[in-house]
Symmetry: C2
Subunit: 208 residues, 2 copies
DNA sequence: TCGCTTTTGATATTTTTTTATCGATTATTA
DNA sequence: TAATAATCGATAAAAAAATATCAAAAGCGA
């Protein structure tokens, strides 16, 4: 690849994308790094440096960057142009909330189904099917599901993860407050809601 | 203060805490940096450096760190020993899931109430009251609520945030996919579920 | 057209974070 | 008790990221 983009920058791209889409929705055609920085709490220099890595069209002095170009560039870089199917594993309250959440679509992610061991929640929610856990192997293959959202209980986390991987899922976003073991080649990221909130509380004491 | 602890380390502490509590639950009294590193996907050196900043007792060569000491140290540093009250604003699906989520207790955070503009959800869920939005001013004061969890729709985000701040909330964790403006002194952190998931998808292509 | 303002992009600098190395200390075992 | 293995803490080096500076290009108004 041309110029390696830093990991930190990569992590910021989804946030840029969200902001830029908001601006596009307001009808703004051009936007300057200073405006983006102000809105997102970054420095203008940082924004320019981040954008320099992916913008196909350079920003124009005097007016700034073309919003639609930037959106296209970021989406292309992040691979959002291609559809990715996802599934929720664990159809509890949080899992069903994820199943209903419509924000994923903007990133080209389609949550197409959920799975749960407990028979009481089998059925459908928001027009999306909830399957019994044992059907995960068949459904993942049929629906070409690549990503899993793990929202089971702590006790079931490892077993559910094993099944997901065995079914062919290669990337997992886990909301379970426990570490699970995954083989090499499987990507797992932990989203610890409690820790995030705790971080906010703790942040009250810090400067940032 | 003695030695400034890096921001990156601070962000890792909640994860350490979670892991250490798991180990404590298994009855392990001592743990080595190598074991922690292996479980959490870090290097042993990094773990030792992080822990050096907060451990009141130094780790003992040959056996490692005392788990209960570490937990106490981290909790003390993060201020989890004192109770913090929180409230959910926006009692939709995600909001009610947050209201019911019991993982916050482990960090000394107590979600005591929710607020919503829509009358249909006013009432109570999981033994916790859901108030109409206009009562936020009174309830926040009475219950000494310090932190807010924002789960309203994009359209209502700014108005809800303004009310939260006016009511006296100084720290917000927002799940709304839009940036809102807050005055200086108010801490807001965005938790973008879609972006997180997108990051996992994108991460499939990267090396990490 | 001309000067002024805005805004970029490149380079350089500083800060932060990660990683490596190594002697010293403690447990373990024979 | 003595040798061996495990583990730490401190220091140093390397890598990554954030921040500052500034000349040049593009718009804007007179």
């Amino acid at each position: 690849m041309a110029d390696a983009i830093s990991k930190a920058t990569m992590l910021r791209f989804p946030a840029y994308l969200r902001y830029l889409k908001t601006e596009a929705g307001r009808g703004n055609k051009y936007i300057s790094s200073a405006v983006i920085a102000e809105a997102m709490g970054l420095s203008a220099v940082a924004v320019r440096k981040d954008l320099a890595g992916i913008s196909s069209q350079p920003g124009k002095p005097g007016s700034g960057f073309e919003v639609s170009e930037l959106i296209a560039d970021i989406e292309r870089r992040l691979g959002f142009r291609s559809r990715t199917n996802a599934a929720v594993v664990g159809a509890g309250r949080l899992g069903r909330a994820m199943l209903a959440y419509d924000g994923f679509e903007a990133y080209g992610i389609h949550v197409v189904a959920a799975f749960d061991v407990s028979p009481v929640v089998i059925g459908a929610a928001d027009g999306k099917p909830i399957y019994p856990m044992e059907r995960i192997f068949e459904v993942v293959r049929r629906e070409d599901i690549r990503v899993g959202i793990l929202t089971v209980s702590r006790e079931n986390a490892q077993a559910a993860t094993d099944d997901m991987i065995k079914a062919g899922i290669g990337a997992i976003l886990s909301f379970v407050p426990a570490y699970v073991h995954v083989p090499d080649g499987v990507l797992i990221r932990y989203e610890d809601l409690a820790a995030s909130l705790a971080g906010v509380c703790g942040g009250l004491l810090l400067s940032e």
